[in-house]
Symmetry: C2
């Protein structure tokens, strides 16, 4: 049997890698790195690169293009699953690295059904999620006591989900808020939450920025790499 580890490498700060992830990356034969296109850099690889001590480790890029048609994507997942199965079957070991946590919007979960379970065993190593990282930066809890949390991806259209999430939960994390800033601003105003949110952009980079003022939110473009936290009970 081959063995494949699906490893979450955290949100970006290399030191947020777990001790387990570091150990396994240095024990396996192959490191599988997702890239957007042939030859482009892997952000997941950048995160772990300074911790690689194994000179024998063979690094293999796997292409996962963005914005494809669903059937094209499925072909790509299948192809990558088959590449991995082919390389690992027969007692080889490999680690597929993914940003954040493998269970939270990761590409790893898409290829899993296409990894041949007869010849490759799979183990998943959890990672630090982006929303926990963001909460740590602004020093607010995602939830305390008996509070609930909803994590909602923002779409370009149809944000009924967002409205429902705000009605039914104490705390809400909005993923990819740049997809529909107008709708979010409208919703914050309609529901009296103008002072009960924080938008954090480009966490952990030199351009890290926090906006918690509705006027400022209206004046500025929300960057692609942003997360919003809404706390109905207030931010402090």
């Amino acid at each position: 049997m081959g063995k494949l580890f699906g490893i979450g490498v955290g949100p970006g700060d290399p030191e947020l890698l777990t001790i387990k992830a570091k150990r396994i990356i240095n024990e396996v034969d192959f490191l599988f790195c997702p890239v957007k296109r042939e030859g482009s850099e892997s952000f997941a690889f950048e995160i772990v690169s300074n911790y690689i001590e194994n000179n024998q480790l063979e690094i293999i890029d796997l292409v996962f293009p963005m914005n494809y048609e669903e059937d094209e994507l499925m072909k790509m997942w299948k192809k990558n699953g088959e590449i991995i199965s082919g390389i690992l079957s027969g007692n080889k070991t490999g680690a597929f690295i993914t940003i954040g946590d493998p269970a939270v919007y990761s590409t790893f979960m898409y290829i899993l059904p296409y990894v041949d379970s007869d010849s490759v065993e799979v183990e998943i190593i959890p990672g630090i999620t982006s929303f926990c990282d963001v909460a740590s930066k602004i020093k607010v809890p995602l939830m305390v006591a008996e509070e609930s949390l909803a994590i909602v991806p923002i779409r370009k259209k149809n944000n009924e989900e967002l409205s429902d999430a705000i009605v039914h939960n104490d705390n809400i994390v909005l993923m990819k808020p740049s997809n529909n800033p107008e709708e979010i601003i409208k919703m914050l105003k309609d529901k009296g939450l103008e002072k009960k949110f924080a938008l954090i952009s480009k966490v952990g980079t030199n351009e890290e920025n926090i906006i918690d003022n509705i006027d400022e939110l209206e004046k500025n473009k929300i960057p692609y790499l942003s997360t919003m936290i809404i706390k109905k009970d207030g931010m402090k």
Copy 2:
């Protein structure tokens, strides 16, 4: 200025500590460990104990009793916040360790308002959450593509929240399901979710157990340390 780190040490497996957490724990002067009562063992300390290499590190237990009245709890948070402020003010450094992630139902966030911000600076280091750990064990995603996730603590009474969460989200994590197994079983049946859940108990221990069959769920007592994941689209 003193400095206090709030550190998430993950769900239980010591290797799920981050590299950053390990480094800071070995750099600070004081390690603050939450305990349920005077003299009892700290689970957070157990998790990190094998990684402590600093012989000078002074370990201080802080008592956080369970099941107290709210005003008793507040007194305890205030007292512990003041103890920490007293020890650290004047250039000392300390780390308060907490299971899982500091932003997810942790005691750390309760004491934070009582740490004197004029004399102690605070930095939070995120940790692996229990629900990410559980998802990694059963190898299912918490969410993919444009799916949402709700995390809902189960109460002894009044579980309208749970019903709402199931209606409005693709995926639902139930925290402390042992608080109201009857209600959960009824809800799974009412909503046709008998085959779309997994209950994971005592993750990472010798008694780790997974139940994904409704008959088995009805027959067995749900242990205290359990998490349930419901996926409306199915578990695979």
